[in-house]
């Protein structure tokens, strides 16, 4: 019975995470907004425009400056658009950050495809360093007619201690919890 318990724990800790990731990939389930969009580009729909607005929030007293370079853009569905977020580490220590996206209205989340996003990686910044971070996206032409404005919001977290600790896991690391982009 003890062997059974040992086998069970070994399976749960080492076999299940990759199996889980595989199942999510194969079945196409799991939040798509955290991973890069890898399908073919869609034809541009010139007949309608969608307003995409950008927000930034510092979570848990994160001291960086973190803000979108533009408040909003107006795009055609299918049209690829590149925007930027500005971040500056205003402290005297080197830090690592993680940005986590969120989309409103909730029905739009499956239709906002990110091709490149700074949120897919951890963002290290040395003390005082600043950076313009790129975001490339397009809106799926299948977006319901009723949605005219999409708001994309990023929350930035300080993951310096999570990254440096030996037990720590982080978004997009090999052993961590995660996204289909791995």
């Amino acid at each position: 019975m003890l062997t059974g318990v040992v086998v069970m724990f070994v399976f749960a800790v080492f076999a299940m995470p990759p199996l889980y990731r595989l199942a999510c990939d194969v079945l196409g389930i799991g939040p798509q907004q955290y991973s890069a969009y890898e399908e073919a580009a869609a034809p541009v729909d010139e007949s309608r425009t969608v307003k995409v607005q950008f927000m930034a929030t510092n979570q848990a007293n994160m001291p960086w400056i973190f803000e979108p370079a533009q408040f909003e853009v107006v795009v055609h569905p299918g049209e690829r658009s590149e925007v930027a977020y500005y971040a500056k580490n205003t402290t005297a220590v080197d830090m690592v950050a993680q940005a986590v996206p969120s989309v409103v209205p909730i029905n739009a989340v499956d239709y906002l495809h990110k091709i490149e996003c700074f949120c897919f990686e951890q963002q290290p910044l040395a003390a005082g360093e600043e950076v313009d971070m790129k975001l490339v996206f397009f809106v799926d032409p299948e977006l319901p007619e009723s949605i005219g404005t999409i708001t994309l919001s990023y929350s930035v977290f300080d993951i310096t201690s999570r990254v440096s600790s030996s037990f720590g896991t982080s978004l997009n690391s090999d052993s961590g919890i995660e996204t289909a982009s791995n």
């Binding site: 977290f157 993951i159 978004l171 919890i177 996204t179």
Partner: protein, 538 residues
């Protein structure tokens, strides 16, 4: 030959006797009730007036958290387990529980667990301060160091509940007297059987939630941390998947007690026995599929909110069946109003009121207004205090004469009842108004417009609190100096195998099971009574 109990402290440390263990659970839970009640008095004293007069907000948060934890896990749950231990074997004609030594372990791990939890008040950083529902990340990233002891205490208490439940299931399924089919069992036994299954199903989920917390706090995982790819809402789902069945775990044994007491003092059999069993089972099943009605404000899609709203409203149906059956039992009965009956009738009225506010909370769009306000606090105190605690008080007055062989003072019992009833309602009825007016819960201080009802509520709380000291006095005075009674049937209208036993019952009862074949319900015929005077060995 049977011998009496051992002498001295080792009797209590090593007992495997269901009556002793029941007594231990009951006294432990009463002590926890007083402790949790003391925390409530601190809360209401601070909320007596706006502004901070007595304690700092940080300590207030520890008081609200500890009040909830101690009352739910230390007072109400162990009290009904104690009742189960005392009554189930006697009610089914069994000599003891199925697993008497595990029974002892189930009890004895509780005092150390709660001693540890209470000791966190004296630790650096203070006691848990994140509410009894301990949502992450307040309970992970922002928790005081004592959170690890809190997690340990929850694990221990969960293990105790699981072991106790296994014991109850094994006992009820295997050790009923010959002729006592399932549909002849007393309702109290039925409700505890169903509750035991609920406990076995959901306590491991709580253990999982609390272990994930432990991992997040100490081992760098990110179950509930968005920065690492986790989700705080996951905590809420896991917690409430446990938490909703938990509240039915609290109330179902209370329903069972009421189903024993109302028929006795109405001198009429319980109306609709089978429908009571089915209704209890329906409530238990439904309790698993409604958890997110505690989460209507997390940002769930409308379809999810609608489903949980409808499912939650559905639970009102079997609950209503039970309430109507109790009232139908009383209808055209020959009713007398001894103290247990007063508590039972008050239960029916006040629990139903709590059920109505629960129905209001189930309406998702309305809950946007009510969520996390004093309206919720009022609701759950009506169902848990006027529900479960009144039921336990009724049970104590009802069975204490049988347990101790002494009768309580009816005048003192009634006095306790009326002060409790009046104090309870003065405390909690105005909290509905406070919630509807917008006062949030778990607030150490409040806006001035809430001052008047807060003062009224606090006065009620002091009255209610004082009355529980009277309760303690009543119980002790009865045991120590109450009028001795020795008839098996303390109450004229009582039915059930426990009322065929001597008063007080011998240390070992039903060592030979009674044969109930051919009897009606759970009554022995007169001949059988002659052959089995109390079931003691002879």
């Amino acid at each position: 030959m049977a011998h009496g109990p051992a002498k001295g402290i080792t009797r209590w440390l090593f007992t495997t006797n269901h009556k002793d263990i029941g007594t231990l659970y009951l006294w432990f839970s009463f002590a926890m009730f007083i402790l949790g009640g003391f925390f409530a008095m601190v809360i209401r004293a601070e909320l007596f007036e706006p502004g901070m007069q007595l304690i700092r907000p940080e300590f207030f948060n520890q008081m609200t958290t500890m009040h909830g934890l101690v009352m739910v896990f230390g007072a109400i749950m162990p009290s009904f387990v104690g009742l189960a231990n005392w009554m189930i074997p006697m009610m089914i004609g069994a000599p003891d529980m199925a697993l008497p030594r595990m029974n002892n372990l189930s009890f004895w791990i509780l005092p150390p667990a709660f001693l540890m939890l209470a000791s966190t008040l004296f630790m650096e950083g203070g006691a848990p301060n994140f509410g009894w529902t301990f949502y992450a990340p307040l309970s992970t990233t922002y928790a005081p160091d004592s959170v690890n002891f809190f997690i340990f205490a929850i694990h221990i208490m969960g293990a105790s509940s699981i072991m106790g439940s296994i014991n109850i299931v094994a006992t009820v399924l295997n050790m009923r007297a010959p002729g006592m089919t399932m549909m002849k069992m007393p309702l109290f036994v039925w409700t505890w059987l169903i509750t035991a299954f609920l406990l076995i199903a959901v306590m491991p989920v709580l253990a999982g939630a609390v272990t994930m917390m432990l991992m997040d706090i100490n081992f760098g995982t990110a179950f509930f941390d968005a920065a690492g790819g986790g989700d705080p809402v996951l905590f809420q789902h896991v917690f409430w998947f446990f938490g909703h069945p938990e509240v039915y775990i609290i109330i179902l044994p209370a329903f069972g007690v009421i189903s024993e007491i109302i028929p006795t003092f109405s001198r009429k059999p319980l109306f609709g026995y089978a429908s009571m069993v089915y209704a209890t089972s329906a409530i238990a099943f439904l309790s698993f599929i409604v958890w997110a009605h505690h989460m209507f404000l997390v940002g769930m899609p409308v379809s999810g909110e609608l489903y949980f709203m409808y499912a939650t409203m559905l639970i009102a149906v079997p609950t209503g069946v039970k309430v109507f059956n109790w009232v139908s039992t009383m209808f055209r009965g020959s009713i007398s109003y001894e103290t247990p009956m007063l508590f039972a009738i008050a239960f029916i009225i006040l629990f139903t009121l709590g059920g109505f506010t629960g129905l209001m909370l189930a309406i998702a769009p309305s809950d946007i207004q009510y969520h996390d306000t004093y309206f919720v606090v009022a609701h759950f105190h009506y169902v848990m205090v006027a529900g479960a605690v009144f039921s336990m008080s009724a049970a104590v007055y009802y069975w204490l004469p049988k347990w101790s062989g002494r009768m309580y003072s009816e005048a003192m019992g009634k006095l306790h009842f009326w002060i409790t009833f009046i104090g309870f309602n003065i405390t909690f009825f105005p909290q509905h108004f406070l919630g509807l007016a917008g006062m949030p819960r778990r607030y150490a201080d409040y806006a001035l417009q809430f001052a008047d009802w807060n003062m009224v509520s606090s006065i009620g709380a002091f009255i209610y609190g004082a009355s529980q000291i009277l309760f303690l006095y009543n119980v002790v005075a009865t045991i120590v100096a109450g009028k001795k009674v020795s008839e098996p049937k303390t109450w004229e209208g009582a039915n059930g195998l426990e009322w065929t036993l001597p008063t007080p019952p011998p240390y070992h009862t039903f060592t030979t099971p009674p044969d109930l074949h051919g009897t009606h319900d759970h009554q022995l015929t007169d001949d059988q009574l002659e052959d089995h005077p109390g079931g003691a060995t002879h």
